[in-house]
Symmetry: C2
Subunit: 320 residues, 2 copies
């Protein structure tokens, strides 16, 4: 089968179709999304070697459990042991011996087929089209913030970053009745946010915005985002950090200590919340798709993502 | 009067005795303590210019309220407006227009006399000697952690750093029934902690200690402490950061995001808890005093602190 393989440089390769192990399903990939983390992996993040890709929707084509055959599914990306304390606490996403699809020691979904444990799969309801279902993984990551931080409706929240993840986070928090302002440089992406009823502000607003927000979500994907977040957050406020990047960030910890800021790392979330949001039409993802490339043109898709002011870029494998 | 003045370099100066403003008291300083923050100010932290010193015990010698005259007092170091939202919420320590004694725009206590608003003063109970009362400010800062983080008795807590603040934090948390381990390089300070019934471990324990603690308090006073804390903390755990230093810290935010760590800045605390702990003899501070210098030998005291493996160094002004 064809796959986008990374071994220090990215290439389209012809590789063997994977074989599902015990308890696993073989899934034909219908649509996959490129994430900021994929771009960071190309720079060296997590030292990954293998087939990239962790955002996908697919169809089960091989599986011990016959009821799953032919079903359209999305898949949780952390493959955990199921036996350690974290797994027993329901925190398999933090299992110390986990692999992570397309990120840590396990092949991902930028391929015609992928395998995952059956326990990782969620069936996609009929009312969610492929083009929306492919957003379940990043939408779950956005929703994770609600599992970690209590956000009363009166609280003012800034989301920094007008990228794919930032616009999902802003919608999820807005839907949760928080007072959300998307803060970024002015541009067409902020106009999009405004059309969805979100407040927007320019990051160049400077002192006007300083220390104005009890909660700030950093979703810029850049080390500079943390300094911006610390600029916006009020004393005793919380900064939620969503970006993962290859290089360590440097910031003024004095501000963190003096203002008693809480800095909270936030990663993958629960797929069920994301599926519920999409099934009920509570989040707009259709305007987030900038372009869809055939899997065979994957290198071109990465090039497009790196050089264009765009949002989500999708990959579609050819159907056999 | 004599005072230790910093204007880019530290010097003993003869300066005018301060005059208390409306609502203020004039306090004769009986004993003052040198803090890590004072050392950072000498390196440029907070760009302070004036008389250093924010840990002290003194006696009220001039005050509109006659009941305070002659009383032995300690003083909260943040001088707030009393009218903004933070002040009304009881968070005057975060008042945006505050001054901070010996740190931000207000003369401190390394002098024969100092002024403070009467509302900042707490009378020291008879059973607390000067040598213990001088620890109220750092002990309150240690206790602040208990206002910010819920620490059930079953939770394993690491305190990194065997300095003045680290040993106070460890005692306060131990007294609160947490399972505390002081983690540092082996030495006489760790022996002291062990004699108080605290568990101790060498920071060189490496992988043995990795990800073993739900809560880690960083009290090293050094930018490297944050990396050590992130090494010790378990996934979804909390790092409390107490150190303030002049230079920005650099650290791997990827670990923070992937393990969903909470990093919490923590600063000044409530003096009443500290006074209660000392009055009831629940915290050992007598073994924390390394040496007491006359105020006139203040430069020598700073030199001693910079060049010796010691704990708290005190300054005592001569009595008129």
């Amino acid at each position: 089968m064809k796959a986008l393989f990374f071994d220090g440089h990215l290439a389209l390769r012809e590789v063997e179709r994977p074989h599902p192990g015990p308890g696993e399903a073989l899934i034909q990939v219908l649509l996959a999304g490129i994430c900021g983390t994929d771009l960071e992996i190309l720079k060296g993040y997590s030292k990954f070697r293998g087939i990239l890709g962790h955002e996908f929707v697919g169809r089960v084509v091989e599986c011990e459990d016959a009821r799953l055959l032919g079903k359209r599914v999305v898949g949780e990306i952390n493959i955990s042991c199921g036996e350690c304390d974290f797994c027993l606490w329901g925190l398999g996403r933090h299992c110390p011996t986990r692999t992570v699809m397309g990120i840590v020691n396990r092949d991902g979904a930028f391929a015609e087929f992928v395998t995952l444990p059956v326990v990782n799969l969620h069936e996609v309801p009929r009312e969610i089209p492929d083009e929306a279902a492919v957003f379940v993984e990043p939408l779950a990551a956005a929703g994770e913030i609600l599992e970690q931080v209590r956000i009363p409706p009166s609280v003012h929240v800034a989301v920094i970053g007008d990228g794919r993840l930032g616009l999902l986070v802003a919608q999820v928090l807005h839907n949760n009745l928080a007072q959300v302002t998307v803060v970024c440089k002015y541009g067409w992406k902020l106009d999009l946010a405004r059309r969805w009823g979100l407040k927007v502000a320019s990051i160049d607003g400077g002192e006007m915005l300083a220390r104005r927000f009890s909660i700030v979500v950093e979703a810029t994907g850049s080390p500079a985002g943390l300094d911006q977040a610390l600029h916006l957050v009020a004393p005793r406020g919380t900064v939620v950090m969503k970006s993962t990047f290859h290089n360590p960030a440097q910031f003024d910890t004095g501000k963190l200590v003096v203002d008693e800021i809480t800095l909270l790392g936030s990663r993958c979330g629960d797929f069920r919340r994301a599926l519920g949001l999409l099934a009920r039409g509570l989040v707009n993802v259709e305007h987030l798709v900038s372009k869809t490339f055939p899997l065979e043109s994957g290198l071109e898709a990465f090039e497009f993502l790196n050089t264009t002011s765009c949002l989500k870029v999708l990959l579609v494998p050819s159907r056999p």
